[in-house]
Symmetry: C2
Subunit: 424 residues, 2 copies
């Protein structure tokens, strides 16, 4: 006799209900229990290394059969070194301060009421990711430490690896006596499961974090009925003024573009003040070309580099995620700010200058999540900010902006201590 086969909708709804129940317990789980779960999970990952690596080998073999790209293959592949880094990452998150319960403000009213603002978990986080199986561990650890339950939905190509890592996280939860439903992984690769998550599982997902390419992020931002922490584009700018040291401009700009051209904090457009053309333009562009960067310039740039492609209107709008840079000469800082406001994605911008008035104006008038002075845009990263890890970078204006670490995975409540006060 066949039992009733639950529909995908029923399966997903049940996952949501279990996550909510786990979140209620996790919200006031002790720091000690959460940290024990994380370090036990790290131990488990090291103990199970060979089985995780062989699961990954199967995923990789299948992916090769399906003819995926080398970049995708690189993201999918787990090596022994990478696996040890994953375990180390869990231990580092265990070592971070617990954000839950932290008092972020406290004041006393004239009537004697003492008001505190205290950090609380957000609840249930839905993480939708693509090929990187390490997201299982990173996202699971950050959400656990911040007292949230998580529902993970990984790409089908990484299924075996993700489940093997997930099993280690469950061992950690079990060792700490925490509910196993705190870190759930969607058991099906049915793409409709993503739609169910975006609809919010009957109010049982509080926020969605997409980890992947533009297609995924755009779908999530379009369809999600719950808040989303994400950025669609990292169209970052570096702007050079004549007052800055040429050597600094060369080093920082080359790093901002070429350290890893594919990350979201990579500079995509270089703006150069017209008075810096004679002094700074050539050394900076030469250094970029030597490193293998393709230059697309406006007319003024091409008068120095006739071999450079002409930048089109589309170039100023493009996040290349590759060793290509669009370069424009601007009249003054006002023109630089206007360009960034018009074409930017509110992610990260840098000014290289020794003029305090320009730096102030850049910091005041540009509305991006991260603004840097005399430093590389590639510092746009939760680890580099000292957050001890990030679940992503957000460009929205609400709640989380910039790197999303433990504190940004929390909400807050007000605690008011009285002695019989009534309101007049």
């Amino acid at each position: 006799m066949n039992a009733h086969e639950p529909s995908l909708h029923e399966t997903m709804a049940a996952i949501g209900r279990r996550a909510r129940a786990a979140a209620r317990i996790l919200a006031f789980a002790s720091t000690e229990a959460k940290d024990r779960a994380l370090s036990s999970a790290a131990d488990a990952i090291e103990a199970e290394a060979s089985s995780i690596l062989s699961a990954n080998a199967e995923d990789v073999a299948q992916a090769k059969e399906n003819g995926i790209s080398p970049a995708f293959l690189d993201r999918l592949t787990v090596t022994d070194v990478r696996l040890r880094a994953i375990a180390q990452g869990l231990r580092e998150i265990a070592a971070l301060p617990d954000p839950v319960g932290a008092v972020t403000a406290e004041w006393t009213r004239p009537n004697g009421l003492v008001i505190s603002r205290v950090r609380t978990p957000l609840g249930v986080i839905g993480v939708i990711f693509e090929s990187r199986p390490n997201v299982t561990a990173d996202a699971g650890a950050l959400t656990l430490k911040s007292g949230n339950a998580v529902i993970l939905r990984g790409g089908s190509e990484a299924t075996r690896t993700s489940h093997a890592i997930h099993a280690c996280l469950l061992q950690g939860l079990e060792a700490a006596g925490l509910p196993l439903d705190a870190i759930q992984m969607i058991p099906t690769t049915d793409r409709a499961a993503v739609g169910e998550m975006l609809a919010g599982l009957d109010g049982n997902i509080d926020v969605i974090v997409p980890r992947g390419g533009k297609t995924l992020v755009a779908r999530v931002q379009d369809e999600a009925r719950v808040p989303v922490f994400a950025h669609l584009e990292g169209l970052c700018h570096t702007y050079i003024e004549p007052s800055v040291d040429v050597r600094l401009a060369v080093d920082v700009t080359v790093n901002a573009k070429m350290r890893r051209p594919g990350v979201c904090g990579a500079t995509e457009t270089l703006l150069v003040h017209k008075d810096a053309v004679a002094t700074h333009l050539r050394p900076v562009i030469d250094a970029l070309i030597v490193k293998g960067c393709e230059i697309r310039g406006d007319e003024a740039v091409r008068s120095y580099y006739p071999a450079a492609k002409a930048a089109t209107e589309e170039d100023w709008h493009t996040e290349y995620e590759a060793a290509i840079l669009s370069v424009k000469i601007v009249e003054d800082i006002g023109a630089a700010i206007d360009h960034i406001t018009h074409y930017g994605s509110h992610h990260t911008e840098a000014i290289l200058s020794e003029d305090p008035a320009s730096v102030d104006r850049f910091f005041t008038e540009i509305d991006s999540a991260i603004l840097l002075h005399n430093a590389s845009t590639q510092f746009a990263d939760g680890g580099e900010f000292g957050f001890g890890g990030e679940i992503g970078i957000a460009t929205g204006k609400f709640h989380a902006r910039g790197p999303v670490g433990l504190e940004q995975l929390c909400s807050f409540k007000y605690i008011v201590r009285g002695s019989g006060q009534t309101r007049p």
Copy 2:
């Protein structure tokens, strides 16, 4: 020859574009200019008092013709005293510290980068309100001081009054040399204009604040395509333990219910620990009955007050907004927390107790925006929190929670100061 008559959609889209342009300027307007605009607006309200009052008299006369309720009429009516309070409110907001540009955190990384988190305006706020014309001034002032542009959409019954007050705000902006589009009022009473606002005016509204009854808030929460700061219900609880002084329990509970039974922070359900029944229940309930409160009790309560109506399942779910209180005897603090978690609206709850373990558990395990110890739930108010005013109270977990004042109308960005750092 007739010119092209713009459609409602075109009119609203143009309002959105003008608001966005004004927001860009307002984002870095000086504190001095914003404060001058507010105090000039206060002067204008006093100077134009007679014309505002006669506009209000017309609104009131028309509303009476349409046979509106006395409560509605009270909210609609502006008296000389209320008008002076409105002007005073503008001056008080001018006197508050400017939230924009405030550094809320700053730290130095091992590589020498100095990272600051700085408050920034959210952008454009849409405020949709019903009968209270003073919202025009309150919302206009709070959004201006926090560097945001605002689009106001008031109820049709208050049109003449709202526009008269709005004209004074424009005088203030003009006196300070700030863009008049910083505070716009929708010129039409066409209800479709609300739909246009909820759709976000092509990305030109960043957040919607509904100020009004449940029907309005529910519509906004259902239909809005942009974030909403609101609470649908204030189903607040007060819980009494035996350890608390009887006099304190009586005073605080009567205040929590009866000070103003219609406000969102009014207690709707009273929970009494079973060991407090013999000592606390009768004095508290007697005092409430004397004040004219109707009691709806569970069986245990009705064994003491046989005349009390039996509370139904629906009662525990009901925000009466009236002099009615549902009362339940609970086994222990765990049962009180379970009841609040199941039936509450995450708004405001109070525990009256001298047992620190109970208070801790109440504060830790309940996830409401505001939790109080030995004080009245009617303290749920931005003014009482020392925020100098509020645009509403939010029960969501994101960004703004509890009273929404100047700081909550702001976002933030990270400013990173370097000296040539590149990322390894």
